[in-house]
Symmetry: C2
């Protein structure tokens, strides 16, 4: 059992930021198509995609958006975060082999409600490919559950 | 090479609707975590998740959203659709084994710009779990590329 250790609302402030990068491989695109059922030819069919304005296959927009979800869940606010809402504008294509960097920046915090609004975007080579805004519930200010370990504990 | 055969903007009208259902398996959740990097304990760690308000693991919100993307790409407007924007509110948890039904309904169409706005939502057992709005570019009114086949064609 992992213990959430994200940043609680009372420790968050506008301007705090975190990023996460991942290279989007062909395997990612194939698996994303399988788990979602989105088999759009623009993602899977190079012969078709080469004839479109994109000039070749592109990744699902929501696959890049998933890196925003990852940044929120893993880094800021981090473990214990609950995802409430997300807006997304898909600005430019992401191609197999592109490294996507997702960035989240705190816009506003309601400590009482634990509610946090963040600017969120993804870039490839510095160019914004996805933009939007996330609303999350920040982790509570103490571990949600203590680690329960049956092994002997060191006495300090 | 597949040939897009979705519904062009001039054939779309407010109220037109389509759905797509998929059971969200544990494999889907594990693979979604892998392709996005979102390893939030609430999705992967049953011991931790059992101690939260959710009472057990839940699927990534963007995994259910992926079924909206699938409905747009596969059914309405269908093949040839380009995804421009999506808003999402995550209303209720989706658990491993739940069957999610995504529904998209045309709200407005700009034939000149090929731009279509759709109400989009996902349900589990009739309860809305995700709600939002999609903006897409509808397929063009003719096949984007004709099928090129090197095999002899029948003469009719």
């Amino acid at each position: 059992m992992s213990t959430p250790c994200g940043v609680p609302a009372e420790d968050l402030a506008p301007g705090m930021s975190a990023s996460f990068s991942k290279t989007i491989t062909e395997a990612d695109i194939v698996l994303f198509a399988g788990v979602t059922g989105d088999v759009n030819a623009i993602h899977l069919d190079e012969e078709y995609a080469a004839g479109t304005a994109f000039g070749g296959r592109i990744a699902h927009g929501l696959l890049s958006a998933g890196l925003i979800s990852a940044t929120l869940a893993n880094r800021l606010p981090g473990p214990g975060t609950v995802y409430l809402a997300q807006t997304l504008a898909f600005r430019a294509p992401v191609r197999p082999g592109d490294t996507v960097t997702a960035t989240v920046t705190v816009k506003s915090v309601s400590v009482e409600k634990r509610r946090v609004v963040l600017d969120t975007w993804c870039t490839v080579g510095g160019r914004r490919v996805v933009e939007g805004e996330a609303t999350v519930l920040a982790p509570v200010g103490r571990p949600l559950a203590a680690r329960q370990d049956s092994s002997p504990q060191p006495v300090i």
